[in-house]
């Protein structure tokens, strides 16, 4: 009996020691609760296509912003503030995006918005946010006019002070693709197709201009209806044009079937697109014939950035059903830029949010600078990301493989 008692006491002590050490180990990792730490709730709005064809990208954006707020709350990054998100679905439609902007403005707890995905939607939201002095950071809009004005090619002029983005613009992405296609892929005759939308048409235009300057020939151009999935007529035109490459300005729901139908028409030539086609869903939709197709996308490959490893691990640990996709890292950085701006505003106001917090956050955003998932995050005088990296990917073995990365340092 005595021996049993001793064993029991030792076991209890050991269990106690285990508990103590386990507690200690949790504390060492930051501890805290995901439920937040303060009395003030700050909402970060999210606008993206959460349903429909583009939802793979949109849900990656939403989840990544959610992750940023959870990390900020867990780390108690802004003393006295708990972050939450309010995610609205714009369905990739400009009119819906504008309604969402009005809804987010009406919620006084919203001090910043991440989104949208589409440049056309961003265009429709900018004025609503700017009038309300509510900061908007897009992880994905690439049309140059959004930050540099409609005459950006001749005279850059920032249209809205409250608009920022972490993605590189098509003023760089289009020429970057043209340089690669002409000089390195050695393609000289291109057939250019776009979906007539702000993003697609803009990107196709910047690609075409540079391709011509390099000495390339544009052997045909076409516009497609994004509502359609039957591109057989365009595919036949591509086949008959003698093009050795197709450039498509648009997004993957159309680009995938377009690539497939071009190959089925007998033109065994690669389709090249921008960040709008850089999605796992493009590979599914284009099928086996899509092998060798190319896409440029903003930033360096996330997997190549040590700064992104923690993001990837945390994203996985949260158990989100959807992949973070092309804009996950940029969405996290967009949200974190807002968190940094809120932190600055709170700290400058004795630990509390001022009455004009929205306007103050817009001002603070201009000077935000931190090491993010995608590298150094800061903004230039137009609200564009100062980190301007691009990467060429190709479809290989059923996945996107990195071909070449470039950095704009001009």
């Amino acid at each position: 009996m005595r021996q049993r008692s001793l064993i029991a006491i030792t076991a209890a002590l050991a269990a106690g020691a285990l508990t103590l050490t386990a507690c200690g180990s949790r504390d060492d990792n930051g501890g805290g609760s995901d439920s937040g730490n303060g009395d003030t709730t700050v909402v970060i709005g999210v606008d993206a296509p959460l349903t429909g064809d583009l939802s793979a990208l949109g849900l990656g954006i939403k989840n990544s912003v959610d992750l940023a707020t959870k990390i900020a709350n867990k780390e108690k990054y802004v003393e006295g503030v708990t972050f939450k998100i309010e995610a609205l679905d714009d369905q990739g439609q400009a009119s819906v995006g504008q309604q969402n902007a009005t809804k987010l403005v009406a919620n006084k707890d919203v001090l910043g918005v991440v989104g949208p995905l589409n440049s056309s939607v961003g265009e429709a939201m900018q004025k609503v946010f700017d009038t309300a002095k509510l900061v908007e950071v897009s992880p994905a809009n690439t049309n140059p006019a959004l930050t540099q004005g409609v005459n950006w090619q001749t005279k850059k002029e920032r249209p809205y002070k409250s608009y920022f983005r972490t993605a590189t613009t098509d003023a760089i992405q289009g020429p970057f693709a043209a340089q690669y296609v002409f000089n390195e892929a050695k393609k000289k005759k291109v057939f250019v197709i776009d979906d007539k939308k702000t993003y697609g048409a803009g990107l196709a235009a910047t690609f075409t201009a540079e391709f011509k300057e390099l000495g390339g020939q544009v052997v045909g151009t076409e516009h497609i209806n994004p509502e359609s999935k039957d591109f057989s007529a365009v595919a036949t035109k591509v086949k008959n044009s003698g093009a050795d490459v197709v450039y498509y300005g648009g997004e993957y729901p159309q680009a995938g079937p377009l690539s497939k139908q071009i190959k089925e028409a007998g033109a065994k030539i690669p389709l090249v697109g921008g960040d709008g086609i850089y999605s796992a869903d493009f590979i599914k939709l284009s099928g086996a014939a899509g092998a060798g197709d190319l896409a440029t996308s903003v930033g360096a490959p996330v997997e190549a950035l040590p700064s992104a490893k923690e993001f990837v691990a945390n994203y996985k640990a949260e158990g989100y059903k959807e992949a973070y996709e092309a804009y996950g890292g940029y969405s996290y950085d967009s949200a974190w830029a807002i968190i940094e701006a809120v932190k600055k505003v709170v700290e400058d106001n004795d630990g509390k949010l001022p009455d004009d917090a929205r306007a103050k956050v817009v001002d603070a955003m201009q000077n935000v600078s931190f090491d993010g998932v995608t590298g150094k995050v800061s903004f230039d005088e137009f609200g564009d990301a100062t980190n301007k990296q691009l990467t060429v990917y190709t479809v290989k073995g059923g996945d996107w493989a990195t071909v070449k990365s470039g950095t704009f340092t001009g």
């Binding site: 200690g24 180990s25 470039g406 001009g410």
Partner: protein, 201 residues
Amino acid sequence: MSGIGPVEPDGDTRPLEPPPTTPRPAHAPRPRLSHRQRAAAATAFVAVAVLVTGTLLHLTRPRPEPPPEPRFPSQTTSFRYLYMQVRGAGTTSPEIEFTIQALTESDAPVTVLDISQPYAGLSLTSTPATPLRVKGGASRKITVTVRVAECGKVPRNAGLPFLDVTLRNTRAKEAHSYILGARYARDLSTALEVACGYEKR
């Protein structure tokens, strides 16, 4: 034997009596341990507890974070375009010479293994010649000399010409394109016009 050994029992070393086979009556007093037995048990208990706790604390002690992996060289190195000139304009072998500045972040030295560009009609050399080292947190000017081999293969007005650079640091060897911007593009176009304009005459 000298020194400190295990504490041995003195005195009563007889084997313990086997436990009683009949149940102890309720409320009957428990058999009492001798003082020596209690002291030995307590010593053993404390020793085991200390050993267990110590082992657990050792196993779960906070360990220093491993040093972060160095970043890829393209993430720590940038190139700035400074200026350009045409040398030997009006001769049969004009050369375009431009100067760039390589900049590295602190504690991230890098070796520039190669500098090239993708246009078929041009070839490059640099001074200092590659491979060249740039210390961490430093900058180094590099003069690039462009020879025009075939004007027909040279883009006259490229908007964003690349400069392809191969870099190496302790993490990786990496080929990366640097797009030096609109001023570089304009100056290069002007210089190529001068160089190739002579050839066409």
